[in-house]
């Protein structure tokens, strides 16, 4: 049986080989040491579309998905409503089957979309400029830290202890390459080392609590460091942006803006900063210009920072990013607009507070941190969070994030607009009955 991916017939192939002047395709592999050419590959027999779809749908149903379960899990990846229009537009294959828009005249659609993306995320974070996106929120954080090092010429990075621990791990990995020292700051009471290039904080922090950004901003700037803030983009729909409180670089995980959790990838690293740091930014940037006839158009620009031009002098090695996820975020922000994003944020806020209040009243449960919080909060449970999550799962509820390794019997719960009152009431009821 011919395979559908190969458009040439036997006759086509024979004609091509004849024109090349060889009798078989294998002759073209003459530079490969003979001993290592045509070695055996132990791979499963090929399957047809029908068979493989059947097999993989059986695999897919082994996963508890949040369409069929109530889900109160966050911790960096969030389940928010995805308007149907997004998939229809990102599904236009002129977008998704294109490469990076190097040939501007044939890529105006993607280039203009990225310009919209840069504009929208700047409007959202309140910062001056944005790049076209990084891999995910954690690597955007690491790249921001390395940016701060280039900006200040200082060799240390400080991270606040309340930053997502996984993000801290990723920072460690990235900084280890250039032997940049990573130090941790417990609270505003500690002072920042003078060698520190930046202070990295998260708003709201990993435990869902709001940080006092202004205080950290003063602390960072007094020590000659820059302030890097990891922000929840939906939070920014309702709350003042850290930009207004002195942030120099704001990064975010953009998955929440119109993409499903996808088992953690692809995500989207949003990276925005003050205009003056433009030349130190990593990754692609799109700019608006004109063509020879004076018509407006878009190009990749300020490329002298990038690996394909500057090689070892580049600001980062990043090439491929998450363009399609950025497109989803662009359509999302445009579809929701100023009132929609505010509304989504308020729904999260009210529902999360309703859930927290219900759980707080239960015997044996308490809130670990005082208010204020946005959509996530930590509850101390009367028993191991792991057991609680198991009990919840029996009732088709994906519970919270077990953080008992950080605080005794602590469970990080997340409530978004996706959680109905019925789901929340059921959660509270089950917890109360344990």
């Amino acid at each position: 049986m011919p395979l559908p991916y190969f458009p040439n017939t036997e006759a086509d192939r024979a004609a091509m080989l004849q024109d090349i002047g060889v009798s078989s395709a294998d002759e073209l592999f003459q530079d490969v040491p003979a001993k290592f050419n045509n070695v055996p590959f132990k791979l499963p027999s090929p399957l047809s579309e029908l068979e493989l779809k059947r097999e993989l749908s059986e695999l897919a149903v082994l996963n508890a998905n949040s369409d069929e379960h109530a889900c109160f899990l966050g911790g960096g990846y969030y389940r928010h409503f995805i308007p149907g229009v997004i998939g229809h537009l990102t599904g236009r294959s002129e977008f998704y089957t294109a490469y990076t828009p190097y040939q501007a005249e044939a890529s105006q659609g993607m280039l203009q979309s990225i310009y919209e993306y840069q504009s929208l995320v700047c409007q959202l974070t309140g910062m001056g400029i944005s790049n076209a996106g990084m891999y995910d929120g954690s690597t955007a954080t690491a790249e921001a830290a390395m940016m701060a090092r280039r900006i200040t010429g200082k060799e240390e990075v400080t991270v606040l202890a309340s930053v997502n621990p996984t993000y801290q791990r990723v920072l460690e990995t990235y900084l280890s390459g250039q032997d940049i020292h990573l130090t941790r700051l417990e609270s505003t009471r500690d002072s920042l080392a003078p060698e520190s290039a930046c202070l990295v904080i998260q708003q709201p922090n990993f435990f869902g609590c709001l940080e006092n950004v202004e205080t950290y901003s003063r602390q960072a700037h007094d020590a000659g460091a820059r302030l890097v803030v990891i922000a929840d983009p939906v939070f920014l729909g309702m709350y003042q942006s850290p930009a207004a409180c002195g942030a120099d670089i704001i990064v975010a995980e953009g998955q929440a803006l119109g993409s499903p959790a996808n088992f953690g990838g692809p995500g989207l690293g949003i990276l925005t900063c003050r205009q003056e740091y433009l030349r130190q930014m990593p990754g692609r940037i799109v700019g608006r210009t004109v063509d020879v006839d004076g018509r407006p158009g878009y190009v990749l620009t300020i490329a002298t920072r990038e690996q394909h031009i500057r090689r070892e002098q580049a600001t980062s090695n990043i090439c491929t990013n998450e363009a399609l996820v950025a497109l989803a975020a662009t359509v999302y922000l445009a579809a929701l607009g100023k009132s929609g994003l505010r509304r989504v944020a308020e729904l999260c806020y009210h529902k999360a507070h309703y859930a927290a209040e219900g759980i707080r009243r239960l015997n044996g449960f308490s809130l670990v941190f005082p208010e204020p919080f946005f959509k996530e909060f930590v509850v101390r449970c009367p028993q191991a969070p792991d057991e609680i999550n198991r009990a919840l799962f029996q009732e088709k509820i994906i519970g919270g994030l077990d953080i008992s390794h950080l605080r005794d019997n602590a469970l990080l719960l997340c409530v978004t607009e996706m959680n109905t009152r019925q789901e929340i009431d059921k959660l509270v009821q089950i917890l109360g009955g344990l």
Binding site: P44, L56, L120, A323
Partner: protein, 484 residues
């Protein structure tokens, strides 16, 4: 309204592009006023306007589904539609990376199986799917190289050798990992200059970073000797697997002496590029590097799949486990082709490239006149001498409806034109492309103006990149109309 307008141009107060539910719980007291945002100037557009706007934009974009996309080094092959369907199963999209692993066994099993398939395809010992793109796979690989040498108390190996034909990401990555970069030149045949390599390879070199076939589209027949030379001096051989499409199902990196390689699932394994991403850049390493692999790996213990962290892991590369959505499509690709199908991929890709080479070498200078692999690099220097830069030729191709090949890369070829046709293009398409390239070669002699002013049929013509860089306009800005 005529394109290109922008979202603020169609925004009108009071519109929205989607509907949202009413609040179904008693409202909580709002936070203090000073914490709340007073302005949020996002556009307000209706759903239909949104659809028209982005549909219009999509029509200004050229993808593999639009036509031939022979962008060298990028492996722009056809992306099967039904792989997209599979990746959209709710059991794959609507799962949270931090849910208990026993509730995501299907996802873990797919990852475990993909690790095994890629290990077999590369002939290595262990595979990590964590890197989210090729460049991140390179980063992970070189961090592993560093960790490996440090674990042997060898702190003096601070150099990475990089051929002059390398992708820009190779030196950029080495620099991010704190290495010094030394460039190894190519010889007149397009192979690595062995004399120079020998003189450069010493106890300070941590690794040679090598792409095979090279970005010249050539398979270096000295590969085994190169590996021995590097290993004899205690260095490692790292492979940039961007060009695996030419070896798929025929040749294994592991046999060729590589210690660690990075793959690009969004090239070789047919997942779409998404207009610049998402990609996926797994790394495959020999067993002696297994302890240094990124966290996490998927393991199978008595039929239960779970994540594990290797004992001397270089650490985490992202907040989750890599680009799972991309892995699903690559997995479907391998399973739908099998070993024989993969071999057909590489043989088809190499046949297409050599066919183009034979048909066009009379019209364009071929700097290395030998059998190529999956891509062929021409030089436009003859045309340049007549007044047409390779950029002009690329832009002229747009007028004829083709996406241009990669130009001005690799850097060692003057006026480089790097064509990668892939196995998914028909002979008919290749013949049409050949005819067009010949026609353009004629135009260089007869109608130079047509090249200088190209493209003519695109939505915009040549863009002023100098002004774009000197006076950056990187966003629109709408300020709040509210007083104060």
């Amino acid at each position: 309204m005529k394109q290109p307008y922008l979202l603020p141009d169609i925004s009108q107060p009071g519109k929205i592009g989607c509907s949202l539910p009413a609040l179904d719980v008693p409202p909580a007291a709002l936070p203090p006023e000073e914490l709340l945002r007073t302005e949020l100037e996002l556009p307000e557009v209706s759903e239909m306007e949104l659809v028209r706007y982005f549909t219009a934009l999509s029509r200004l974009n050229y993808g593999v589904d639009t036509g031939f996309y022979p962008l060298g080094s990028c492996t722009m092959k056809y992306n099967p539609k039904w792989h997209e369907d599979i990746a959209k199963f709710p059991g794959f999209t609507s799962i949270h990376p931090y849910q208990a692993t026993e509730t995501a066994q299907g996802a873990l099993r797919l990852m475990f199986d993909l690790q095994a398939l890629l290990t077999e395809i590369t002939g290595m010992g262990v595979t990590s799917l964590a890197p989210m793109a090729g460049a991140q796979g390179e980063l992970a690989s070189l961090l592993m190289v560093k960790a490996y040498h440090h674990s042997r108390s060898n702190m003096m190996r601070r150099k990475i050798l990089v051929p002059d034909t390398a992708h820009g990401t190779n030196p950029a990555t080495a620099s991010m990992c704190g290495f010094e970069i030394n460039t190894v030149p190519s010889d007149s045949e397009g192979n690595l200059d062995m004399k120079r390599l020998e003189s450069m390879m010493n106890e300070q070199v941590a690794a040679l970073s090598l792409t095979i076939p090279s970005t010249l589209g050539l398979f270096d027949p000295q590969i085994i000797t190169i590996g021995q030379l590097v290993h004899d001096k205690g260095g490692l051989l790292y492979g940039d697997g961007a060009n695996l499409n030419s070896l798929l199902g025929k040749v294994k990196f592991g046999d060729l002496g590589f210690d660690c390689v990075q793959l690009n699932l969004h090239k070789t394994f047919s997942t779409p590029h998404g207009g610049g991403g998402p990609g996926s850049g797994p790394i495959c390493a020999k067993p002696y590097l297994a302890d240094f692999m990124p966290t996490p790996l998927v393991v199978n213990k008595a039929g239960k799949y779970s994540f594990t962290s290797p004992p001397k892991s270089i650490g985490r590369l992202g907040a989750a486990y890599g680009n799972f959505g991309v892995m699903v499509k690559a997995y479907a690709y391998i399973r739908s082709l099998g070993a024989a199908g993969l071999k057909e991929v590489s043989e088809g890709a190499v046949t297409s490239a050599n066919y183009l080479k034979e048909k066009l070498k009379a019209d364009y200078h071929l700097p290395y006149n030998r059998t190529c692999m999956h891509e062929v690099v021409f030089s436009g220097k003859r045309q340049k001498a007549k007044g047409a830069a390779i950029l002009d030729i690329a832009k002229r191709l747009l007028d004829y409806g083709f996406h241009p090949p990669t130009i001005y890369f690799p850097l060692v070829v003057e006026e480089a034109l790097m064509i990668e046709p892939t196995e998914t293009e028909s002979k008919k398409t290749l013949d049409a492309f050949i005819e067009t390239m010949k026609e353009i070669a004629r135009e260089v002699t007869e109608d130079l103006e047509a090249l200088h002013t190209a493209p003519h049929n695109t939505s915009v013509r040549r863009l002023d990149e100098v002004t774009a860089a000197r006076q950056p306009d990187l966003r629109w800005e709408v300020k709040s109309q509210r007083p104060g």
